[in-house]
């Protein structure tokens, strides 16, 4: 018996919530970015699972979407981490609660 689709979807949901919890609960900006990358990866897993189990797998819809998603995630990670480095140079901290000068 091979694994049904639901197993992949539940795994993807678990990974998404772990990424979400990490992105919300940790202070460091880098960890928020890692959480966001985990969420993107969970969504990619969802796409590939539905592509594999769904109708018309020869249309390669899921595969195409995931390829573009990986490329865009790479671009976003690069720019996000460049921002973190640049802010660190200004403020000597990479924790997000040191970056709230617009507050109040």
């Amino acid at each position: 018996m091979s694994t049904p689709l639901a197993h992949y979807l539940i795994l993807s949901a678990v990974l998404f919530s772990i990424g979400f919890a990490g992105a919300v609960a940790r202070r460091s900006a880098i960890l928020m970015l890692i959480g966001i990358e985990l969420m993107l990866n969970a969504a990619n897993l969802n796409f590939i699972a539905f592509w594999r189990f769904g109708p018309h797998p020869e249309a390669l819809g899921g595969v195409m979407f995931v390829l573009f998603s990986i490329a865009i995630a790479a671009a976003e990670a690069a720019v996000g981490l460049a921002l973190v480095i640049s802010i660190y140079r200004q403020r000597e901290t990479a924790q997000v609660d040191g970056m709230d000068t617009l507050k109040n």
Binding site: L15, L38, R52, V79
Partner: protein, 189 residues
């Protein structure tokens, strides 16, 4: 049966690495566990017969994004463990609670719909030739746009992270003619 066992092993490994990535104190450990989680996901893509995506995931996420994260951790001195302050934000419990609610919200419809529990259909695979053809025929516009986006991201990241040069150069240097320098050298001899 081997398929099921492989899936369970890879899934447990990936979830464990993801949890470790989000909860460790040392940032470098978090980055390396995240890289391991990405590798586990690449193994899952390979199990789902998406070869090209699996190898692309390894190359991009493990080979590039993980290294980028590690470099950023080193450049922002994240490896100093702060023992007096907590690493988590003050409302971390609320965040975890919302995450559990999100998990419940996504997982409940999955558990309740019977159509998702069937076995897999026969694999057609994703031959690389087909991916190339699709990229050039149907998805050529997204391909070009992603190219432009990546170029923009590359230039943007370099510009944002560049160290700023001092804007004003001392003007006296350019006004000294070369002749005066050679006169000074001759006088010193």
């Amino acid at each position: 049966m081997p398929n099921e066992i492989a899936f369970i092993l890879i899934a447990v490994f990936t979830v464990a690495c993801a949890v470790a990535a989000m909860t460790r104190r040392q940032l470098v450990h978090c980055a390396l566990f995240a890289a391991a989680a990405f590798a586990g996901l690449a193994a899952l893509y390979l199990q789902l017969d998406a070869e090209f995506v699996g190898f692309a995931q390894l190359m991009v996420y493990v080979g590039a994004i993980a290294i980028l994260i590690v470099f950023t951790v080193l450049l922002t001195r994240g490896d100093e463990v702060r023992s007096n302050r907590s690493q988590s934000s003050p409302s971390w419990l609320a965040g975890v609670a919302v995450a559990v609610l999100v998990l419940a919200g996504i997982a409940l419809p999955i558990l309740l719909s019977p159509a998702l529990w069937h076995a897999a259909p026969v694999a057609t695979g994703a031959p690389v030739k087909r991916i190339g053809e699709e990229l050039m025929n149907r998805y050529v516009l997204p391909l070009e746009m992603v190219g432009v986006l990546l170029t923009g991201a590359l230039l943007g990241a370099v510009v944002i992270a560049m160290r700023e040069e001092p804007a004003v150069k001392p003007p006296s240097r350019s006004l000294v003619p070369a002749r005066a320098e050679s006169e000074e050298v001759v006088n010193l001899r």
